[in-house]
């Protein structure tokens, strides 16, 4: 399992001076002299110019919808690239750091104890792929149950 969200695993700031950030975000530049740019690029979000260039699906996360994806599924991938992306503010970096730490924090420390899921990131991923109703999940949560498919 990955050690955290993608943005945690290879901090783009290590190879991208702050001043170049917006150039990359809007210009999608890449060059042999800066091999980190392309990787940095896909980690830093979506914008309208990317759509205009046809670089929309999967661009943010570095991969496209699976082959044979329906038009509806492709639109959903497109939507994902922009989800949660907002203008940066002064708390942006602190917020992102907090996201990275919470991802690795034990569920118990966050009051999220759930049988078999030790880290908050694992719990969120588990919730995303479930097909259970909120009431069922909440009930299982209260009773400390393990649903089918819950890692032990």
């Amino acid at each position: 399992m990955a050690e955290g969200p993608p943005s945690q695993q290879n901090n783009p700031e290590q190879h991208s001076p702050k001043k170049e950030k917006w150039t990359w975000r809007h210009g999608f530049k890449s060059s042999p002299e800066n091999p980190g740019q392309q990787e940095w690029n896909w980690k830093h979000g979506y914008n309208q110019s990317a759509q205009a260039r046809g670089e929309k699906w999967g661009w943010r996360y570095g991969y496209a919808p699976p082959e044979g994806a329906s038009e509806e599924q492709q639109r959903q991938w497109n939507w994902l690239t922009g989800y949660g992306v907002e203008k940066e503010d002064q708390n942006e970096q602190r917020g992102q750091k907090t996201v990275r730490v919470i991802w690795q924090t034990s569920t118990g420390a966050l009051g999220l104890s759930f049988y078999g899921l030790a880290k908050a990131g694992d719990l969120i991923k588990w919730l995303l792929k479930q097909s259970k109703e909120t009431a069922d999940i909440a009930k299982g949560w209260e009773e400390g149950q393990a649903f089918a498919g819950t890692p032990k």
């Binding site: 993608p6 699976p66 599924q73 989800y83 708390n91 009051g111 999220l112 097909s131 109703e133 909120t134």
Partner: protein, 103 residues
């Protein structure tokens, strides 16, 4: 597919990854999970007063124990579990709605 309860949607189906290799599914869930958690942190941040917001950030900027984190969440974000479920459901709902829109 249950349209009344977005949480009852397997997001892997929504994005056409039901039969994708586990590694590809996991990579997608990392990305989607990060988006959910980012929204959740913003929601928490906006609900805390200035002083407590600073404490929230400080708690995750410097090494702190699980006990410290647990005490903070228990006191100031007692509904964290509900907020998390809401954000996961909202993510799924918006994904479904966006997919249905015509271009």
């Amino acid at each position: 597919m249950n349209l009344q309860d977005p949480l009852a949607t397997n997001i892997l189906d929504t994005f056409g990854l039901k039969n994708a290799p586990p590694g590809e599914q996991d990579r997608f869930l990392d990305a989607a999970g990060e988006a959910v958690l980012t929204s959740l942190v913003k929601k928490i941040k906006n609900r805390l007063t200035g002083e407590k917001r600073e404490e929230f950030f400080r708690l995750f900027e410097a090494p702190s124990s699980d006990e410290e984190k647990a005490a903070f969440f228990k006191t100031y974000v007692p509904n964290f579990k509900e907020l998390l479920l809401e954000e996961v459901a909202r993510f799924k709902k918006e994904a479904l709605e966006y997919g249905r829109k015509t271009t």
